[in-house]
Symmetry: C2
Subunit: 283 residues, 2 copies
């Protein structure tokens, strides 16, 4: 495994791989890797000759009041995690390497970014789309892997790839959870022991919703109220949003009569956690 | 030469070329090809094994009150022009092929688009950057060729390629002029015989400016006033802008003490024409 920090080094290696007829899978990350990331690497490993993991805490996707400065970083541990998974290259550029002082170009997806995190975190997906476009152009992968945990991000990237004709297959991978159901996230490291226990409420709310749905409930109001009541029982939790949207358009739905995404964002203390599940017709 | 209309056909052909180790030059155009475009094709032909000319009148880069509907089109004549130049592929997609009904992604360059045509034609460069990104991703060229006549467009594309890490070399090619100095443009076809004569005033203004500069004039005010007076002598002409900007930042300059672009846009009747020249220190 090689660890490279410059775009030129990536290009040189990728060019050699390409000339040898090898396919490339990219796993874009912000580092502080956990089993969620490793499941993406495993999937990438399965279907490509070479796997690149990018590690870059992208300032552009953080809002001014968000956690850019405190976002957890541990390149040594990340390097071990990648090595264990048989990754071929870590690309961990500096901010200067990615954004020169004249930098002034943005990639923006409208529509599906108007809901959920796109609404709550203005500019977030613009930052994501821009850096992912850059990473796509730098690493020229055949396939790129994103977690279903960031469901809106996955949809936005798919939309962007379709709209801008990137010749890259986008693979969404299932949410990986802790034993008690909490979705794996680098931000879980922010949680105090007490908050860590409180954080179970996100998955508990999801489970209750799924139970209601299994019992035939179609009213989003009814399901949403149940989810809210579960989370509101938890004094350390504060709901940012719980929303049901059409899986294609991300427009709100009031009844579960089409494929839908239920997404929630909840503050546990100062830590903002997200989770989601998909409702599919006839399943 | 093949003429293809679908993205899938382009990809298939490009893939075969790539596998044969052939390099690709792209000339993006809106068709109604003239000697200006042909000079780009000639340049592309010189340095690449294969040349693709895209012909697409991109609705997204026209403002609501602009000339999208009347923009001249002649695919038969364009096909002959490309054949004469030894072009290998024309890519002439429909609007539906380029933009599906869910399309919602944009590429935008800020900063240098705040001046000149970017200021006068809101959204224009966003449309240009988006379609050029798409064409880059569809044709995956080694080099792409743009005319210096659209000086701001060339600078914007270079900025975008740098910022988003497209692995493509952008080549700017000199302005091609008619015998009387008028810059070649598809829009010249709009001009009545009388307007065609009046349109000389753009190049006459440029020549006067260059003469003043040769005589040592550094004041942009003085040079600009001279250019205005020449164009204002022409009753059919109405100045949209005449501006001097720094060649890198596109910020206005008041004295010619750095590499600068002088760009002008002038309405001749209803037809908006642009032209420009570059001032380089120590030349």
């Amino acid at each position: 495994m090689i660890v490279v920090t410059t775009i030129a080094q990536v290009r040189e290696t990728v060019k050699a791989w390409r000339q040898a007829g090898e396919t490339i899978g990219l796993v874009p990350t912000m580092g502080f890797l956990h089993e969620g990331h490793q499941s993406l690497m495993a999937e990438a490993k399965k279907n490509n000759h070479k796997v690149i993991v990018s590690i870059f805490v992208n300032p552009m996707q953080f809002g001014p009041s968000e956690d850019l400065a405190s976002y957890p970083r541990d390149l040594d541990s990340d390097t071990v995690a990648c090595q264990q998974m048989g990754v071929d290259m870590i690309f961990c550029p500096t901010v200067d390497q990615m954004y020169d002082s004249y930098f002034n170009s943005m990639v923006d997806v409208d529509g599906i970014t108007q809901a959920l995190c796109g609404q709550k975190r203005p500019g977030h997906f613009k930052g994501v789309c821009t850096v992912v476009s850059k990473l796509f152009n730098i690493t020229a992968p055949d396939r790129a892997y994103f977690g279903q945990k960031d469901a809106q991000q996955l949809a936005v990237i798919k939309r962007m790839v379709n709209d801008l004709n990137f010749d890259i297959e986008i693979i969404g991978c299932p949410i990986i959870r802790e034993a008690d159901g909490l979705a794996k996230s680098s931000r879980n490291s922010y949680l105090s022991p007490q908050e860590r226990i409180a954080a179970r409420c996100l998955f508990e709310a999801i489970q209750s919703a799924q139970k209601l749905i299994q019992q035939g409930e179609k009213s989003v109001d009814v399901i949403n109220t149940e989810m809210q009541s579960i989370i509101n029982q938890q004094p350390l939790a504060k709901i940012d949003y719980i929303e049901f949207v059409d899986l294609q358009t991300f427009k709100p739905v009031t009844r579960l009569t089409q494929d839908s995404l239920c997404a929630l964002a909840v503050f546990i203390g100062k830590t903002r956690l997200i989770d989601n599940f998909i409702y599919q017709q006839g399943r």
